[in-house]
């Protein structure tokens, strides 16, 4: 292969010829275009201000808060406001919030923060607007007491307005239970498992009946359910890490190990394609069901409508997993409008609408007296009285304190469970490794 003969290029007239001229002009134009494009790219920042006084609010959430129809409604009622939502994956969402707070720009006007991450951000109250300055003190009785308290860095500062509360239940497949010779009625089912050991026992029965399905989707979700009932999780309220010393954690771990070793788990990674397909195809019979899990099931496994049901979780139905708050980072240029949006989104009427559409359980107290909530049944789940079930759960639950690195510590433990499920490590090894990773993550 040779280079093309260079002389053929050179022998063209070297001045004033169209080729040379065009080339130069073309280059000039291209350069100008580049500069223009780069300037444009630089200029296209976020102004947040429309041309004629319209205010653009951005709201950053993860998973599905069910707010889309509410945005439409709000924009209709407030024509000068436009709302843009950015949805990210759970971990990435919180990582990004941390980065943008540190960078000093880029955070949305309203940002959702989940319970496991809340302490990380209440530790930096200077990065959020104190909602008391915008009228939040009027809203004090709206939420469960602990929900209100947890987002307060100190007695005079409130950075978050509560959205949902997790609660706990067990969602199960009636048809698979029937196939295995187990009762399908939700009260009978709940009576089968007064505690977690009996839950595992039911699991073993189920597996022995050989329906081709496993009993539960994955170890980590079972772990979250069991731990969600304990008085303490990974941290003391003074932020001491107690992952090693808290007996509840090791107990939850041991129960999960029993389940895994008994072949009860379908070993699916939550939110992976396999897990979603497992929901669709009935690869497992039960799954830990905080209220927001119902939303997943409904949107992912439409064809299974009517085959699901909801039973109370062992140990009397208390416990919690999940729940979030809406905050306003201090980078926002429109704190008043952002606050008003957040307050409206978490108001009882809107919270009820989200519940009825999606299943996310409000943390708004007055709804617990509202028959529209308490008597709500969900046909997808065989008309289960989800309103009653989750209201009871919400009112019964003891709030669990989550510390600054709760999310990372939980991830370390969950990865440990996954390693055992995958057969990569023995339970003892996995526990040791998980503890090491948890301690390092909390550092």
């Amino acid at each position: 292969m040779r280079w093309r003969d260079p002389l053929s290029w050179i022998t063209r007239p070297a001045d004033g010829s169209p080729a040379g001229g065009t080339r130069r002009v073309r280059r000039g134009r291209v350069l100008a275009a580049t500069v223009a494009v780069s300037l444009l790219a630089t200029a296209c920042g976020d102004s947040g201000e429309g041309g004629d006084g319209t205010i653009e609010l951005t709201i950053a959430t993860f998973n599905d808060f069910g707010f889309q129809p509410l945005y439409e409604q709000y924009m209709d009622e407030h024509p000068n406001i436009t709302i843009t939502e950015h949805v990210a994956e759970y971990q990435n969402h919180h990582t990004q919030l941390a980065t943008r707070l540190a960078a000093g720009n880029g955070a949305a006007d309203v940002v959702a923060i989940e319970g496991d991450f809340l302490a990380q951000f209440t530790a930096q109250p200077q990065n959020f607007y104190n909602l008391f300055d915008y009228g939040a003190d009027e809203l004090e009785g709206r939420w469960l007491d602990w929900k209100w308290q947890q987002s307060m860095p100190d007695a005079d500062t409130q950075i978050g307005l509560g959205t949902d509360v997790g609660g706990l239940a067990i969602c199960y497949r009636r048809d698979l239970f029937e196939q295995a010779g187990l009762p399908a009625d939700r009260d009978e089912v709940a009576a089968l498992w007064p505690d977690w050991e009996s839950y595992l026992e039911v699991g073993r029965q189920f597996v022995a009946a050989d329906t081709g399905a496993r009993f539960l989707d994955s170890g980590p979700l079972l772990f979250n359910a069991i731990l969600g009932q304990a008085p303490q999780a990974f941290y003391e309220p003074d932020n001491t890490l107690i992952v090693e010393s808290n007996p509840a954690i090791k107990q939850a771990w041991d129960l999960v190990m029993e389940a895994v070793e008994g072949g009860l788990s379908a070993n699916l990674v939550q939110y992976s394609t396999q897990w979603t397909t497992g929901l669709q195809q009935g690869t497992f019979a039960t799954i830990t069901c905080p209220a927001w899990m119902m939303a997943f099931i409904q949107s992912q496994a439409e064809d299974t409508a009517g085959n699901w049901d909801v039973a109370a979780v062992p140990n009397g139905g208390g416990g919690n997993w999940g729940g979030s708050w809406l905050t306003v980072p201090s980078q926002s240029d429109h704190p008043q409008e952002a606050y008003e949006l957040a307050a409206w989104l978490t108001a009882p009427e809107q919270a009820l609408s989200v519940f009825q559409r999606l299943g996310n359980m409000p943390s708004t107290v007055e709804l617990y007296e509202n028959p529209e909530l308490t008597e709500f049944t969900n046909p997808f789940f065989h008309d289960a009285p989800v309103g009653r079930i989750f209201t009871d759960a919400a009112q019964a639950l003891e709030p669990q304190y989550q510390g600054p690195s709760s999310a990372a510590v939980r991830l370390a433990v969950q990865n440990g469970i996954r390693r055992v499920e995958d057969g990569q490590q023995s339970p003892e090894q996995a526990w040791e490794t998980a503890l090491g990773e948890a301690v390092r993550a909390a550092d």
């Binding site: 292969m1 759970y90 707070l101």
Partner: protein, 353 residues
């Protein structure tokens, strides 16, 4: 500029490795700009017409090179050289992006921690393992493929373009596709294996299986590219050599050993260097292979977490910039060391054949 003779010196082909690092030429010591003559030619040798003009030309000749190089060099200095140096400085600090603690100078503490960190060694092992599993098959297959492509084919452009398609497709897209193909329950590959009676393999869960899967991705992506550059080098070998050898009674394989491979030596060196550099920095594949969305640990047991993923985890999840910079710097030293070893080895192997 045309030179005759069987010399086939490989000049760096346009490399499009993802990370953006391209390899050095095969003989950095030899100045490839041999066309430059010594001083004495050019303006200085002609008689000046006007004093002013001469001085202008002289100024132009001495100043303008700097002007030409300036934009490049300023950007290069600012955005490439400076960060490289500054990384070392960052690694000497306990520097957390969002921590409340003040940044403090800790000297080589980060390096000590790193060398004692089992996750680092794990990432290192993973990186090497994947690199080995992908580089060797890649290059061998590329040689074979080049040999096939060297024939007098009909539609040779189609074939050549076809083998390059994997290289131009979006890396992220490809990784996502392959992650699905290698899925445990519904992946195509497990289905095919099932037809052959082999049980479903949990590709992501195991160490060896995940390394193989990722290596398959890399091999799929790069074999065609390497095949093309081998092909180019093969085509530059004059036929007379082969004809002479076959007249002497040499068999195909002997010709391969004594003519083809030595002639391909510079290109093989180049090829090995590219795949080494790419292999050491592999990022998208291990990151996106994890079934758990948003995971940066390379699997629940870090079974396929490579060095770059570890760097990303430490720097942009844990926000421990000092530690991440340490990882980066150690990676750099490793790349240099491995590249040098590769260079020496490949040179040795190719020359003794």
């Amino acid at each position: 500029m045309k030179r005759s003779g069987p010399q086939t010196r490989a000049v760096a082909g346009p490399a499009a490795p993802g990370p953006g690092a391209a390899p050095p030429p095969p003989d950095p010591a030899r100045d490839p700009g041999r066309t430059e003559r010594g001083p004495g030619r050019g303006a200085g040798a002609t008689r000046p017409r006007l004093g002013f003009r001469h001085r202008l030309q002289r100024t132009d000749a001495s100043v303008s090179p700097y002007l030409y190089v300036a934009p490049f060099f300023l950007l290069f200095l600012g955005f490439m050289l400076f960060p490289l140096g500054y990384t070392f400085y960052v690694s000497l600090n306990d520097w957390n992006l969002i921590g409340a603690e003040a940044r403090s100078f800790t000297g080589l503490e980060n390096y000590r921690t790193l060398l004692a960190d089992p996750n680092f060694w794990n990432a290192l092992r993973n990186t090497f393992s994947i690199w080995l599993l992908s580089t060797v098959p890649q290059l061998l297959l590329a040689l074979g493929l080049a040999h096939l492509l060297n024939a007098r084919l009909r539609g040779k452009t189609l074939f050549r373009m076809g083998v390059l398609v994997p290289n131009v497709a979006s890396l992220v897209a490809v990784t996502i596709i392959f992650a699905q193909l290698f899925g445990r329950d519904f992946g195509l590959i497990n289905w095919l294996l099932g037809l052959a009676g082999v049980g479903p393999i949990d590709w992501q869960a195991g160490t060896a299986s995940s390394h193989i899967a990722i290596a398959v991705m890399v091999v799929w992506r790069w074999t065609g590219y390497h095949a093309l550059i081998y092909l180019a080098a093969m085509q530059a070998i004059p036929r007379e050599l082969y004809e002479a050898a076959s007249l002497d009674g040499a068999g195909s394989f002997q010709m391969l050993r004594s003519i083809t491979i030595p002639a391909l030596r510079p290109v093989i060196i180049f090829s090995v260097l590219i795949s080494t550099i790419y292999g050491m920095q592999i990022f998208a594949e291990p990151l996106l292979f994890d079934p758990k969305p948003g995971s940066v640990t390379g699997g629940a047991g870090r079974q396929f977490q490579t060095l770059t993923v570890y760097l990303y985890e430490q720097g942009f999840r844990e926000f421990d910039f000092g530690y991440a910079a340490t990882i980066g710097w150690v990676m750099f030293l490793l790349v240099v060391a491995v590249a040098l070893v590769n260079y020496a080895l490949t040179r040795r192997i190719s020359s003794t054949r």
